[in-house]
Each structure stands twice: as structure tokens, then as C-alpha cells.
């Protein structure tokens, strides 16, 4: 009895259940329209399509939880991905992918530190800084490195990008889909960040800062360091995503990640992360992102005419965020009721 009540209480606080239902409804709709959704290879396709947005979402989630916002990660990822690939090509590197990943992580850390310095140390609004830094990153990439599409990438990256954990075969259509090894990287990062957030003081510090920066400072959290380190982490995660994308696409394109930021943020917020910071769960964030990814990659399965796609995505975002916004309001109300009645009792 009591346990069930606390469980319900906990659930009523979450909005994962709600997103999950929306997600389910959407999947069923697609299945119904195409009969393909739940086919083994389609699921694998979705999974591999989730990798890059998923990684971006994790980073964005961290930033939003800490009470900030980051619009620079696509530029950041592009820059470190491009610099890495170009360099490895120039020295005509023949080894495995690890060098690429390592190098990207290092560059990512530097660029992340750049954001972190201005947001954490100078205490400038995150939106301003990341707007600025994304222009700067773009400028460095396209100006200094005068980037162009690299259709040939180091063999190590290429092989890794095409190697599969397993290959799903659709018995009916005979179509096969690869589950990229990169998916493991995604899962590792996900678990890593979950652990950080739930089982380290650094992680709880991010929540704390998002809740009240002043209180965090007084409680003895090192606010500046926490922020800087967090933005470094975010930079590294984004760069990883960038490299993975290059590997999977078999080419390094400098600009075609740009503009992803808004959909990613939308996904994270759809997942019930409060844009004001401090609140939200990684699970919800992933569900929200998955929702966006599925929508983007099922337009044809849904049979939505090309010229109506944007209408659909737009409506999707508005309705989705509308629901979770309403959900949060509702949550707060029920909350205050609960405690008040408790006092009265």
C-alpha cells in the first residue's frame, strides 16, 4: 500500500511514462502505415541513426541540467572532426581508428574548455557564449582550415565505421542492416554519464548548480570548476559524435552537422528536462531524442509527402514540448497539494 503510493508519487513526478506512451503510439502508427517498423532491420537502422543525435543529446542534457544552453556543439563537433580527419589524411595515417578518436577527444576538450572558460569563469550567459563560439569554430574550420568535403577518410576510420556488431536480416524483404560498432561507444558514454550524474558529487553538483548556483557555491561546490569540467566533457562527447559520424558516413563533411542543435535541444526538452535547469533524467532525455530521431527517419515509412515534412516536424515539436510543458505545470500543482495536505494532517 505505502510502497505503491510512493511508487505512484515517484511516477507522477516523472514524465518519462508520458513520453514513452507518445513514442509507443508513434511506432504503432508507423507500423500500421508501413508494416515495416518492427522489422528487425528497421529497428537496427533506428538504433544506428540514434547514435550521433544520442551523443549530442547527452551533452546538451548536461548543459541544460546545469542551467545553461549550448548551441555550439555542432560547430564544435564539425571542427574537431574535420581537423582530425584532415590531419590524419595529411600524414597519411594507416593505423586504427583509436588515433582519430583520441585526437578528436583532445581537440574537443580544448574547444569545450573555451566555452567553459567564458561561461564558468567569466560568468557570461551560456547562450551568448555558445552563439559566439559556434561562429568562431565555424570560422576556424572554414577559414583557417579552408574546409571542404573530404570524401576519402583514413582507412582506419572507414573500416571502423563499416564494421558491425551484428547484421540484422529482414526475413521477408531480405534487406540487411548493420548495427555499427559505434553503437557500443554510444552505450558506454551513456552509462558513463549516468554513473557520473547519479553516483559522483561532480554529477550531483551539476544538478545542484542548475537548481541554485548561489546555494551550490555556499554548500562548497566549486561552481566554476564544475562548469568548466562539464563543458570540457560536453566538448569531448560532441567531438566523439563528430568522428563517429564521419566514420559512419565514410566522408568528412564540414557543414552538414550544422543546424542540428535545435532539434537536439527540442528532443532533450521533450524528454522532460526543465529548460530552466536542475531537473530531468537521462532516461527521459533519451526517450525524447529517440522520438525526434524516429520522426525524422520515418517520414517515408509514414508516407508523408516530401513537401509536408516540415509541417509535420514543426507540429510534432510544438505538440510534444506543449505536452511536457503542461506536464511540468501539472506536476508542480499536484506537488504543492501533496505537501500542503501533509502539513494540514
Amino acid at each position: 500500500m505505502d510502497t505503491t503510493r510512493t511508487l505512484l508519487k515517484k511516477l507522477s513526478r516523472r514524465n518519462e511514462p508520458y513520453i514513452f506512451l507518445v513514442l509507443l503510439a508513434l511506432c504503432l502508427l508507423i507500423e500500421f502505415r508501413s508494416g515495416q517498423f518492427f522489422s528487425s532491420n528497421n529497428l537496427v537502422d533506428i538504433a544506428s541513426a540514434l547514435i550521433v543525435p544520442g551523443l549530442f543529446a547527452i551533452g546538451t542534457f548536461l548543459v541544460i541540467i546545469s542551467g545553461g544552453i549550448d548551441v555550439s556543439f555542432p560547430a564544435l563537433a564539425s571542427l574537431s572532426m574535420y581537423a582530425t580527419t584532415k590531419y590524419l589524411l595529411d600524414i597519411n595515417y594507416q593505423g586504427g581508428v583509436w588515433a582519430a578518436i583520441l585526437m578528436a577527444l583532445v581537440i574537443g576538450a580544448l574547444l569545450g574548455a573555451f566555452n567553459g572558460l567564458f561561461i564558468g569563469y567569466f560568468k557570461l550567459p551560456a547562450l551568448i557564449v555558445t552563439l559566439g563560439s559556434s561562429s568562431v569554430f565555424k570560422g576556424i574550420m572554414q577559414g583557417a582550415l579552408n574546409s571542404k568535403q573530404l570524401t576519402i577518410i583514413p582507412s582506419g576510420m572507414r573500416n571502423w565505421g563499416t564494421s558491425a556488431i551484428f547484421t540484422a536480416r529482414n526475413p521477408v524483404s531480405g534487406l540487411t542492416s548493420r548495427m555499427p560498432v559505434a553503437f557500443i561507444a554510444f552505450v558506454i558514454v551513456l552509462l558513463f554519464v549516468f554513473f557520473i550524474l547519479k553516483y559522483t558529487m561532480f554529477g550531483r553538483g551539476i544538478y545542484a548548480i542548475g537548481g541554485s548556483e548561489v546555494s551550490a557555491h555556499r554548500a562548497g561546490f566549486n561552481v566554476v570548476r564544475t562548469k568548466v569540467v562539464m563543458y570540457i566533457m560536453v566538448g569531448m562527447i560532441a567531438s566523439l559524435a563528430g568522428v563517429i559520424r564521419a566514420c559512419m558516413m565514410q566522408q568528412a563533411h564540414p557543414t552538414n552537422m550544422l543546424g542540428m542543435e535545435m532539434n537536439i535541444i527540442a528532443g532533450v526538452v521533450l524528454g522532460g528536462t526543465a529548460i530552466t535547469g536542475g531537473r530531468g533524467t537521462l532516461l527521459g532525455c533519451m526517450l525524447g531524442t529517440l522520438l525526434i530521431v524516429i520522426v525524422e527517419n520515418s517520414m517515408i515509412l509514414l508516407g508523408i509527402p516530401t513537401s509536408y515534412r516540415s509541417v509535420f516536424t514543426g507540429a510534432m515539436i510544438i505538440i510534444g514540448t506543449g505536452i511536457s510543458a503542461y506536464q511540468v505545470m501539472h506536476m508542480n500543482k499536484t506537488h504543492s497539494k501533496r505537501t500542503k495536505s501533509k502539513e494540514a494532517a
Partner: protein, 314 residues
Amino acid sequence: AGQAEKKTGYEIVVVPKDASNPWFVRMKVGVDEYAKETGLNVYQRGTAQIDATLQAQLVQDLIAQGVDAICVVPVDLESLEPVLGQARDAGIVVIAHEGADLENVDYDIEAFSNAGYGAFIMDNLAEAMGGEGLYTTMVASLTNGSHNEWANAGVAHQKATYPKMKLLEQEPRVESNDNGDVAYNVAKELFKKYPNLKGVMGTSSYDAPGVARAIQELGLVDKAFTSGTGMPLDNAELLESGVVKSLTLWDPALAGKAMISLAVKVLDGEEITEPVDLGVEGYTNMMFRKGSSTVLEGEGWIVINADNVYDFGF
């Protein structure tokens, strides 16, 4: 001699759609070569992103700068038309490429007719598909002028010459947003939803490679096919692995040179009469398009396939 010094005075700018697309990077190679050879003040200047408004503003800036000639590859005809009008009013020579329907130009150079090119891509696809089966068309975006022209031409050509082929009418045209990854995912979806889809006619240089990746992964090699535009070295592997039988293109570098040398001719006040010889391979004997006094068409395009992919050196 007198000619020469007159020439060196000219400032001629080539304005591509944007600058990170390998296509125009290649064009820049041609332009710079030309500058070296002739010592003319010729350079290429592209906008940071492919965007109609940005391109228009860049051209406006150039007008204000009072350059002698502008050679432009329009992102979007309609938005550029009035700006080019301003240019000509300012007495600037305007040469376009891939802009056959522009009015405010001195001349427009086409490596070939868009219709012809579309039809030709279709021929390649048909050949690969063995002249039968279900196909659809892919463009960068519905807002892209020439791509849609090619696609339309391709479809028309198919209706006329390949009765056994059929356009997928649920999805007659899909978008790749000039993004290989999108092309790849869209193609995957297409083949999933329409199991008997057999071919995708690509237009942008990102389409065919992206679709090819999907074909490869889905295990449809030799069951499904694609064709389209592409640069040789970039696609060498695809061609050799046989996923894509052939790609088509014309050499942007040459197109760039051709535009400039035509601009120079006009500036020198030479009169332009058929056959026009721009002294650039493939543009040595250009004819006016039927019924047009501005559109000059060169002959032909290049087909690249596994055999000749390395012969071009770019």
C-alpha cells in the same frame, strides 16, 4: 600587345553557389589557373553557406565595388535576377553558368542543355536497371532550380524511351538536402517501404554516393541501382566496387575558365558569333540554344565509370 595591357586592367569575379562543395572547389582551381596564365585580376569568391540571399548580397557588394565582370553560378534564379539587373545597369558584364533562364545576363554558358543532361543521367540509370523496374528521383531540395529541371527532364525522357520503367508515384521525388547522410537514410527508408524499388536517379553530387551506401548496406548490390552527378576521385571506390555503374559530370574547372574567357571577349568588345571558341576544352565550338541569343551550349559532358575514373586527375 595593346590587347594584353588592356586586358590586365580587368577585375573579373567568379561567384559560385558556395565554397565548401568540392564541385566549386574544383571550379576555383580552374579560375586560379586562368589568373596565373593570363595575369588578369580574376578570382573566385563564394558565400560561407549555400544561400540565395547571401549570394545576392555578395553580388550587390561586387557591383558597389565596380568590378568589370561578374561570372555567377546562381543558387536561385529568381532572387538573383533583379540583382543582376542592377549589375548590368551599372555597366558590368554578367556571365552565368547553369542559369539558362536568366534574363539579365550578357551570356549564359551551359556545358549542355539541362534537359539533355537529365535525360543522360536517366540513360545511365536505365542501362544499369536493364531498362525496366520501379524508380524515383532525388534532389538536393525541392527549392533547387537545376536539380528539379534535370529530374523532370529525366522523368520525361524515361516516359518517352523506357516504357518498362515506372516512376514510384507515392514518392516521385525525395530530398537529400545536399547531405550524404540524409540521402543514405532516405534511400534506406525507400527500399524498406517499397521492396520492389529498383533505382534512384540522383542529381546533387551527394545523392548517388549516399544512396549507394544504403544499397551496399541493405545488401541490394546488383538488385538496386543509382546514378547521378559526382566527382571522379571522390567516387572512385563506389565505381570500382560496382555499386554505382557510372556517374556523370562536366569539369567545373573548365566551366569556370570558359565563363571568364567569354567575359574577357565581351569586355574587349569582340562580337560573339557562332561557333564561339573560348579556347577551353569542350567549349571550343559553342552554339546558341535554339531560339536564344544568350545561352551558349558546349558539347557534352563526361561519363565516368570504373575504367576511366582515374583519367581526369581530379
